[in-house]
Amino acid sequence: MSFAPFAVAAWLFVIGLYGIVTSRHLIHLVICLSVVQSSTYVLLLAIGYRTGAAAPIFVDTKPGAPAVDPVVQALTLTDVVVGATVSALLLALAVQVHKASGTFDPDELDTLRG
C-alpha cells in the first residue's frame, strides 16, 4: 500500500472536480474547489515523507538526523492560509450574485446584467 497517499490525492482531485462540473449551487462550488485544493496538500506532503523520519524541527534532534522535506511543508502551510482567504473572496462573490439575481444556481446565471 505504498502508493495509498497518492491515491487519496488523486481521489480528492477527481471528486472535487466532479463536484465543480456538476455543481448546482455556488457555495457548494466553492467548497468543491477547496477539496480540489486540498488534494495538492496531500500530494505535496506525501512526496516529502520519508519512513521513520522526524518532523524538520531540530529542537532536540541533531542536524543531519533523518527528517521529512521542509520545503513541501512550507509550500503547504502558506497555501492553507492563503487558500482560506481566497475561498472567502469567492463566497463574497456568491453573496453578491445572490443579491443581484436571487439565485445560487450557476445554470440560472446565463445573462449578464448591469
Binding site: 495509498a4 456538476t22 515523507y49 529542537v59 522535506d69 512550507a74 492560509v81 482560506a84
Partner: protein
C-alpha cells in the same frame, strides 16, 4: 450545457487524468522512500546557516522569503477584494448593527457559551502570540498564530454581541493591522537591500540557536505575517457579519430609496 453532457465531458477528462496519473505514479519513488535534493540539503545545512530550529519557518521566511511575500500579497489582495465586494451596494445602506436576524427568531446566546467564550479568550490570544513569537523555534509562525489570534476575536462575537467585537477591534484597526503587516514584510526586505544590497537579506546576527532572539530577521517577518493574517481574518469576519447585521436593502418606498434611485 446539460448535466448529462457535462458528466460525459468529465468522464472523458477523468479517464485521461487517470492514465496520466498512473503513468506519473510509475515514475515516482514509493511513499516513504523520499530522495529529494533540496529538503535533504536544507536538513543538513539550514540549522548551521540560519540558527532556526524550525526548518519549515526557515524555508518559508528566509530561503523562500521572496515567494512567501508573493503569497502574502495574494492573501492581502483577497482580503481587500472581500472588503470591496461586501461594501454597501447602490441599493443598500448601513444601519445600526442588529444582532437578531430580521426574518426569523434567533435563540439568545446560552450562558455556557458566554462563560466558556470569555474564559477562553485570554488563553487563546496568549497562545496566538506565543505561536507567532516562537515560529522560528517550534512548529508555528505568523500564518498559524495569526489565525489563532483571529479565533480569539470570533470567540468575543460568539460570547457577546457584535458591538463587543467592534469594541476590541475599533475603527479601522483590523485594516491597519493587515496593511502594516503587508508593508512590514516589504520593509524588512528593503532593510536587507540597504544593509547588503540583496532584497530580504538576513543581515541581523543569528544569535544562539534555540533562543527567542535567534535566526536574524525571521522572527520579525513572522511578526509582520502574524499581524497581517490576524488583521485579514478579522476583517473578513467583520465584513461577512456586517452583511447580515449592518447592511440593509433600502426600502424602495421610503425617501432613502427614492434618493438612491435618483442618483443611479
Amino acid at each position: 450545457m446539460s448535466l448529462a453532457s457535462r458528466r460525459t465531458v468529465f468522464l472523458v477528462a477523468a479517464v485521461g487524468f487517470a492514465a496520466l496519473f498512473l503513468w506519473g505514479l510509475a515514475g515516482l519513488p514509493d511513499f516513504g522512500a523520499y530522495d529529494g535534493v533540496y529538503g535533504e540539503t536544507l536538513n543538513r545545512v539550514a540549522l548551521r546557516q540560519r540558527h532556526a530550529t524550525n526548518l519549515v519557518a526557515a524555508v518559508t521566511f528566509d530561503y523562500r522569503g521572496f515567494d512567501t511575500m508573493g503569497e502574502e500579497y495574494i492573501l492581502f489582495a483577497a482580503v481587500v477584494g472581500v472588503a470591496i465586494l461586501m461594501r454597501a451596494q447602490r441599493d443598500e445602506e448601513e444601519d445600526a448593527p442588529d444582532d437578531d436576524a430580521r426574518d426569523r427568531l434567533t435563540p439568545r446566546t446560552s450562558d455556557a457559551v458566554r462563560v466558556l467564550g470569555l474564559g477562553v479568550f485570554g488563553p487563546i490570544v496568549l497562545f496566538g502570540i506565543y505561536v507567532v513569537a516562537h515560529g522560528h523555534l517550534t512548529p508555528g509562525g505568523g500564518f498559524q498564530g495569526g489565525v489563532v489570534l483571529a479565533t480569539g476575536v470570533v470567540l468575543v462575537y460568539l460570547a457577546g454581541r457584535y458591538s463587543a467585537l467592534r469594541g476590541i477591534t475599533p475603527g479601522a484597526s483590523a485594516e491597519f493591522a493587515e496593511a502594516a503587516g503587508a508593508a512590514g514584510y516589504v520593509g524588512v526586505g528593503l532593510l536587507g537591500l540597504l544593509a547588503s544590497g540583496t532584497f530580504l537579506f538576513n543581515w541581523l546576527p543569528f544569535g544562539t540557536t534555540g533562543l527567542l532572539t535567534s535566526a536574524g530577521m525571521i522572527p520579525f517577518i513572522n511578526l509582520f505575517v502574524g499581524l497581517e493574517v490576524a488583521g485579514g481574518f478579522v476583517l473578513i469576519l467583520t465584513e461577512f457579519l456586517e452583511q447580515t447585521l449592518v447592511v440593509r436593502e433600502v426600502d424602495s418606498g421610503g425617501p432613502e430609496g427614492k434618493r438612491e434611485r435618483d442618483r443611479s
